[in-house]
Amino acid sequence: MSTLRQTYDRYLPVVLGVAFLLALVFFPFFESDSPYWVYVGANALFYAILASSWALLAGYNGQFSFAHMAFMALATYVSGIIGRETGIWAMNLSPWVSIPIGVAVAGLVGLLIGYLCLRLRSTYLALFTIAFAEILRLVLKAEIDLTGGPNGLYLKTFNLPFLEGLTRVASTYAPMYYTMLVVFLVSLAVMYALVNSKYGIFFRAVREDEEAAAALGVHVVRVRILAFVVSSMIAGLAGAVFHHSPGIGIIVPDEMIIGRMSLVIAMAVIGGSNNLMAAAIGALFLHFSLEWLQEIPVPDALMPWLLQNQARLEAWGLGVGEVGLKTNAWRMVAFGILLMVTLRFWRNGLISPILERIMQARAKEEVARGRAAKAGKDLADVDKLVVDEEANEGGQ
């Protein structure tokens, strides 16, 4: 029985991880007759990158920033401006060149903002970053010659000839989706490498108690700025790649409004901001849910009833669509309630505790394996050691 449990604990994270990855890879093929949902999928991946990189900054390092969407937009605007053929600062660069430059600029500005915010905590940091984001948005809106103003900046889209074939077998949005999927996986890999390095430990130590961390030798300034720069660059990368994708090709300043930023924060919080993957899954789940809730499909038999009561439903702010009930603003109400309930009852988010439980079982086994190896025992004894350790801990 225990061996079965060990096997289950050992392979569950791997099985779930592979299943998750396969679901992401094959999603456009499942939705080949519905390009809209593939487009939603690409959007969801964009938000997943933003939510997880915000979690890196806020959840791991304790810096509650509202400037994340601003860094996303900054990299995109820089890339768009220097990439265009004519106009101020136009250099006619390929997106493959202009995007890295945009991301680097986001990183440099992140460095500056991170440095300016060194002494700011909680509310003050939030207010500072809100001010920065709003100033940037208003400047982008006002500088019409440079940025296109409120109508937005048209961007060069990149071509991915090797993905063209997918538009026939999967969806017209498949190239965009797969591009975002690659950026999502690369960003997660980079962030995981960072949080599993010594800097991951330092990030959290600084979040917990800056003075105590410094007294133990942690270079607090370097750690806080590193978190700001990395998360800004990843947000910038997500924004620039997404907006340069075929099918988008434009960015408007109002993408940086505080409502959008709050959405990213809420996604990370509901998933669990202390875990990168949880924040990403939270964003994927919520983005799909919000899209699905726009018009909840109902059985054909119920459609006549909905049409009959259309006037009454509209009085309540609802509506009747082609395939079901339109929820309009009510979906955001549901989202808000979910956020409030999560904050009240599950401070660590809804996904994070589940992932932690799965991973903890594996960690225990790893320790037992290490001990067995050190003691020169046969690795076959590992299962017994894990069981013994669990029994010991249960008895504490």
Partner: protein, 250 residues
């Protein structure tokens, strides 16, 4: 190891918390730092560890002037400390708490696996190895004190400042802290021990420094300090008899 304070002053607005304190600690001494509440003990430790900058005066450690340097720098030079109110990293596991100073150590060349093994060794000594995956927030107050001490062992500094290590700790755990101090001492480290537990401080210390209203009023062997009229007055007041407050034997 040599720590030297030269006429250190710390003022907060009009309040002088530390007033011209000078002393030197050399070798692996165990020095008790005592004084009534508000005497400036914690301010002094914050000055030595870089959390506060002195208003005037100099602090030298192993031939280098360290006053005004940031805490991480001072830690890297070899001064480690605990805090009066325990400051474990609550949402990190016990093992991660210990790994932090190991990984932060300047010039660390040990692998993560080696540091984990070292951390487990320390946890076994502190009889906390079974709690390695536990979040620090789930530990009792006494266990959190032990965890702070464990972090210092991991950091392996030349000078350790222990701020009230026995406060609020179960007698059983106090024994472990006693053993800890002895072990650290055996390793040739210098210790500054701050405690209101006079019994412990007189038993353990080789030398006592007494502060009162930010001023150093006595510095010497415990037997000598115990008889110092200024110390007796600081603790008992002028009109009181010198009685049971200060232990009779070290």
């Amino acid at each position: 190891m040599r720590l030297e304070l030269k006429n250190v002053v710390k003022q907060f607005g009009g309040l002088t918390a530390v007033n011209g304190v000078s002393f030197t600690i050399e070798g692996s001494q165990l020095v008790g730092l005592i004084g009534p509440n508000g005497a400036g003990k914690s301010t002094l430790t914050n000055l030595i560890s870089g959390i506060l900058k002195p208003t005037s005066g100099e602090i030298w450690f192993n031939g280098e002037r360290i006053d005004g340097k940031p805490p991480y720098y001072i830690a890297a030079k070899g001064i480690g400390r605990t805090f009066q109110v325990t400051r474990a990293f609550r949402r990190m596991t016990v093992l991660e708490n210990l790994l932090t100073p190991g990984l932060a150590k300047f010039g660390n060349r040990k692998s993560r696996a080696q540091l984990e093994e070292e951390a487990m060794e320390i946890l076994r000594f502190l009889t906390m190895d079974h709690l390695r995956w536990e979040y620090a927030s789930n530990l009792s107050g006494g266990q959190q004190k032990l965890l702070e001490l464990g972090r210092l062992l991991m950091m392996d500094p030349d000078l350790i400042i222990l701020d009230e290590p026995f406060a609020g700790v179960h007698p059983k755990l106090q024994r472990t802290i006693y053993d800890y101090i002895k072990r650290v001492k055996e390793r040739g480290k210098a210790i500054i021990l701050i405690s209101h537990d006079m019994e412990s401080i007189f038993t353990l210390s080789e030398r006592l420094i007494v502060l009162n209203f930010g001023t150093l009023i006595a510095d010497g062997p415990p037997e000598e300090v115990k008889e110092n009229p200024e110390v007796i007055e600081a603790y008992l007041g002028k009109d009181e008899e010198e009685d049971q407050f200060l232990p009779t034997a070290a």
